[in-house]
């Protein structure tokens, strides 16, 4: 995983620059005529939501490849993308909730997007817990890969069942965050922040993968020493 080390610094610098540009565009963009300054929350919320779905997509692909190819690198990437995805999902939920307070007058509404995001967060926590709870690393890798794929199949079903549930039961009285049409002034900061968040996700993934790889190497060393001590 030497190549990760090589791209870490350039990617980090690029991320910082992109974030600076994004935040500058967010600050200089005019306030929305309906939402006022609260629209600036969406410049974090929307890219973060996109990134949490993108991380899950990445996790699914890496998990499927792992079951097929059995390479440890793929498993390391899978473990890292769970952590990165959880961070993005957490920020998505928190920012959506903070956006909801002034816009809906409540911190939380059981609308389809927020509910699916919450289920996604629980699923990611489950993936972490499952990996921690299995002692055999190969078993843990396999089980989390299978669970990730089950989750990938389940998430669309969850999303659409919540959509049907909410619309059939009580017609939506408000649009969720990100439902508004994105036009004109909103576009430049949103695009800039989206690019910055993609880079940020990549950078976090590189960092976490290296951390996982180093930790595994360290743990392997510890067991090796333990076994020598027994002889």
């Amino acid at each position: 995983m030497k190549w990760l080390e090589k791209i870490q610094l350039p990617l980090g610098l690029l991320t910082l620059v992109a974030l600076a540009v994004g935040v500058w565009l967010v600050m200089t963009a005019p306030a929305d005529y309906q939402q006022g300054d609260a629209v600036r929350i969406l410049y974090v919320h929307v890219p973060s939501a996109k990134m949490s779905l993108l991380s899950y997509l990445f996790l699914t692909i890496v998990s499927a490849l792992f079951l097929w190819r059995r390479s440890e690198t793929l498993d390391i990437l899978a473990e890292a993308s769970v952590a990165v995805g959880a961070a993005f999902t957490l920020v998505t939920l928190a920012s959506g909730s903070i956006w909801g307070k002034p816009m809906w007058g409540a911190w939380w509404a059981w609308d389809a997007r927020l509910t699916s995001m919450l289920v996604l967060l629980i699923l990611l926590m489950g993936l972490m817990a499952l990996r921690n709870a299995l002692e055999d690393p190969l078993k843990a890798a396999r089980a989390t890969a299978v669970l990730a794929i089950i989750g990938a199949v389940d998430l669309p079903i969850i999303h659409y069942s919540v959509v049907w549930w909410r619309t059939l039961h009580q017609p939506p009285s408000f649009a969720g965050p990100a439902k508004q049409a994105i036009t004109g002034d909103l576009l430049p900061p949103l695009l800039a922040m989206s690019v910055a968040f993609v880079l940020l996700g990549g950078y976090l993934l590189v960092l976490k993968s290296r951390e996982v790889a180093a930790r595994r190497q360290w743990e392997a060393l510890e067991t090796e020493r333990l076994e020598q001590g027994h002889e």
Partner: protein, 224 residues
């Protein structure tokens, strides 16, 4: 083909009969279900009208919690005497082993449901006896997918630390669509003029997806 079906059937039968002799899982599931009902009654103290409104959710929550009890034990016998390897070494494909385990768990869960439904109607004093067969049909339809997913997750967590907690943590979010569809379908049955069709269809989708996915996923899970 026929031998495969017979093998799956033998695995299921061994589990169910073994459990029946020891009365281990079945009785604890049943008592747990009654305990949940009592907790509900004490916590919400519903009158007759409220009870009818609460009934769909109440039934599904009880079924979900109760099935967790059963799922925790699906692979327990194998885990204890190391029979899991033996089961896998037997010259049947992994998918068939899964089907056998699933059938066994399905049978136990349905047995519990058959007792749970009249018990709930009596204890909560809800008079929907006329709808009894259709309620049971919806429960059964949901149970197919629930146990399919559940047995797969049980296999996944069988050698994990604190496996029952983990099983609940994994199963509950993934069954969200099942819970929504199941509760709405039952509510539609009990409320005149509401169509249960879309929700029943969602239940069927859930069943088909999991029962198609699970044997295959089980194969990956226990691969050499």
């Amino acid at each position: 083909m026929l031998t495969m079906v017979r093998a799956a059937y033998r695995i299921a039968w061994k589990d169910v009969v073994g459990d029946w002799r020891r009365r281990a899982t079945l009785s604890s599931m049943l008592f747990f279900a009654v305990a949940v009902l009592v907790v509900f009654q004490v916590a919400f103290d519903p009158d007759r009208r409220e009870a009818t409104r609460l009934l769909p959710g109440l039934l599904w929550v009880t079924v979900l919690f109760t099935s967790l009890m059963g799922l925790g034990r699906v692979f327990q016998a194998e885990e204890e005497d190391g029979g899991f390897e033996g089961l896998l070494l037997a010259s049947v494909p992994r998918g068939v082993v899964f089907l056998g385990k699933w059938l066994g768990n399905l049978l136990l869960t349905v047995l519990v449901e058959l007792l749970l439904l009249p018990l709930t109607l009596v204890l909560f004093n809800v008079d929907v006896w006329g709808e009894w067969p259709s309620i049971m049909a919806v429960l059964l339809l949901g149970t197919l997918g629930l146990t399919g997913l559940g047995v797969l997750l049980a296999a996944m967590t069988q050698s994990a630390r604190s496996r029952e907690t983990l099983l609940a943590l994994l199963l509950l979010p993934l069954t969200a669509p099942l819970l929504i569809a199941g509760v709405q379908a039952l509510a539609a049955l009990l409320e005149p003029g509401v169509a249960a069709g879309p929700w029943v269809r969602l239940l069927v989708i859930f069943d088909v997806v999991y029962l198609a996915l699970a044997p295959w996923a089980f194969g990956w899970l226990v691969a050499e």
